[in-house]
Each structure stands twice: as C-alpha cells, then as structure tokens.
C-alpha cells in the first residue's frame, strides 16, 4: 500500500468527510485546502468546480455502497442476516460521526445542482431495489414475514435507518441508533423470540 494517496483521492476524502458532517452548503474549498495544506487554486485543477466535486463525491460513494451490498450478498445467504449486515453499513458511518452522504444531500436537495439531485435519487432507488429483492427472498423462503408490498417495506427500512442516523447525531446516541435498527428489523422476522404463548 502506498504511503500517500494521490491528491484527487485526498480531496475526495476530505470533501466527503466535510459533506457528511457539515453538509454541502456547510463546507467550502477553503476548508479542504487548509486541511490538505494546498491552495484553493490547486483544487480547481482536480475538480473544476464545487458542483463537479459534488458529482464525483456521490459517484464514488454510490459505487462503494454498491460494492458493499455485493459483499453482503456473498457473505450472507439468508435474508435476515443480509438485512442485519445492511443496517451495519449505516452503523459504521454513524460510528465515524458522519451522516449518510446521500441522507445529508437529501436534506439539502432543493439547493443542489441538477446532476447531483439526480444521482441522489438514484442512490435511494438502488438501495430500495436491493432491499426489495432481499425482502422478496425472505418472504419466499419463509424467513421473513410482513404485510404489504416488499417495496414499501424496503422504503421503510431505508427511511428508518436514515432517520435514525439523522436523530442519533445531535443526540450523540449510537446505542439509540442500534435500538431503532433492531426494532425495525426484528419486526420482520418470522421467528420472533417469544411474543405470544408457545
């Protein structure tokens, strides 16, 4: 592994952390420049403008997330385990004291350049598609049980996890996030521990 990443990657890393903690309207080229000890002008060499940097940011994030989903799919075979692993992806982001990149951008949606808006929407659509398939799988093999269309439940999972991150950060309550994730997912398990009489 190289000791130092290339500048473009360093810029993306810094920008990503800044957006996930402060929002797209809450950071500037000056923030990144001072952190990397280079000038603002140098940033423009790598990313022509803030909008282009933002697009690159979402593209990399979405690609990384897609990879993570693929890993989840290969490491876990049953639907409940896949859902747990999915929630753990969010948990790791929160542990780094960050909001989901696209969750943050969703809040600022109305102020974003159109290309960024479209990519944010695509991110949520892709997540729901993946979740829908997992839910259908669990419903078919009997490991999951729920009412209504799987796509609606998928939306509930995405919404619940995004909202749990959103609320957990001001409250500085990682355990609260985990509790919400647990409640969201255990409600879908067919083999609930012991709710009624055996």
């Amino acid at each position: 592994m190289q000791v130092k990443e290339d500048t473009a990657t360093q810029i993306l890393d810094a920008a990503e952390r800044l957006v996930q903690s402060r929002g797209f309207n809450g950071f500037s080229y000056a923030h990144i420049a001072s952190e990397l000890q280079i000038t603002k002008a140098a940033l423009h060499y790598h990313f022509s403008g803030k909008a282009e940097l933002g697009e690159a940011l979402i593209a990399r994030y979405a690609a990384r997330f897609a990879d993570a989903l693929e890993n989840v799919g290969s490491q876990f075979k049953d639907a409940p385990s896949r859902l747990n692993a999915y929630a753990d992806l969010y948990l790791e982001v929160l542990r780094n004291k960050r909001m989901c990149l696209c969750g943050m951008l969703a809040a600022e949606y109305q102020t974003l350049p159109a290309p960024m808006q479209n990519t944010v929407v695509q991110f949520f659509a892709d997540n729901e598609t993946w979740l829908t398939r997992v839910l259908e799988q669990g419903q078919s093999d009997g490991t999951l049980e729920f009412e209504g269309p799987p796509s609606e439940v998928a939306r509930m999972i995405v919404s619940g996890l995004e909202g749990a991150m959103l609320v957990a950060r001001p409250l500085d309550d990682v355990a609260g996030f985990q509790a919400v994730a647990h409640h969201l997912l255990t409600g879908l398990r067919r083999t609930s521990p012991d709710t009624s009489q055996s």
Copy 2:
C-alpha cells in the same frame, strides 16, 4: 383576523419556509428581504442576527408543535389514534413540500450556533417523551403490543417519520411517506387487521 400580520411574524414565516426547504445554511437575509419586499437592514431591526432569528424560529416551531400534541391528546383518547394523529402532523409538513424544521437542523447540526443546537436536541427529547407516554398507555390498556422499552419504540417512530420525510422529498413521493408511516404504526397494533387466516 387581520389582513396583514406584523413584520416580525412575516419574517418568521418566510424564514421558516426557507429553512424547511433549503436549510439554515441554504438561505440568507437577502432571500427573506426580497420575498417581503423590504431591505436586509430592516430585518436586523427585528432580529439582530441570523443566529437569533434561528433561535426564535425553533422556539416558535417547538411551541406550535407542543400545542399540536396537546390537541392530539384531547381529540383522541386511545393510543393507536394518537399515534396516527402524530404521524399526520408530519404528513401535513411534507404536503407543504417542507422538511420538519428540526429534522433539517439535525442534518446541519454541526454547523449551528450552540443555542440552536441545544433547542434542536430538546425538540427531539420532548417528542420522545410524549410518544413514550402514549406507548405506555397503549401497552397498559392492551391497544398496543411491542417488545422492548417504550422509549426505544418512541425513538423508532420519530426516526422513522423524520427519515421518511427526508427520503420522500427528493423522490417527490408523499404516498411513500404514508406507506412508511402506516407500516411503522400498524406493527405496534395489537389488533392487526387480518394477517393470518380468519
């Protein structure tokens, strides 16, 4: 009712709408001024700075929300109805194409002045307290059934609704929000409609 509200109220109304749609870092005094057809300087007469305006904004929003919760408590007596009415408060905000004020500020939390941060946290705490009481009531009288501490379920409801708003706005999908709210709340009802054979 008066034909024209006083200027301070008009400013709060405009600022509220702007923050709920664009975020605290996504609007400026210039936006409000042009909307109300007055100058930026006039705004400073009513609210000395953006931070003070922000504090006033949350204070009014929280007071209004507290009133709404009181109304819900007096209009509906059983826990499931109260939860439905609670979710409808969020639905109305979304119908106006807005994000919950404190949900938006939660995203921008790290960039907010300290007094605003504290009030945002208080908002969520108050909501969870109210919901916890409703959940305890429903659990006692048997209209609700769930596992784990009521406070955790309260957190799940707040998180789920906030997240559902967050995601619904970019997707422009009010129906999706309603579906999520339905799934979140029906999972708590003891008398589920007809999940198994009759």
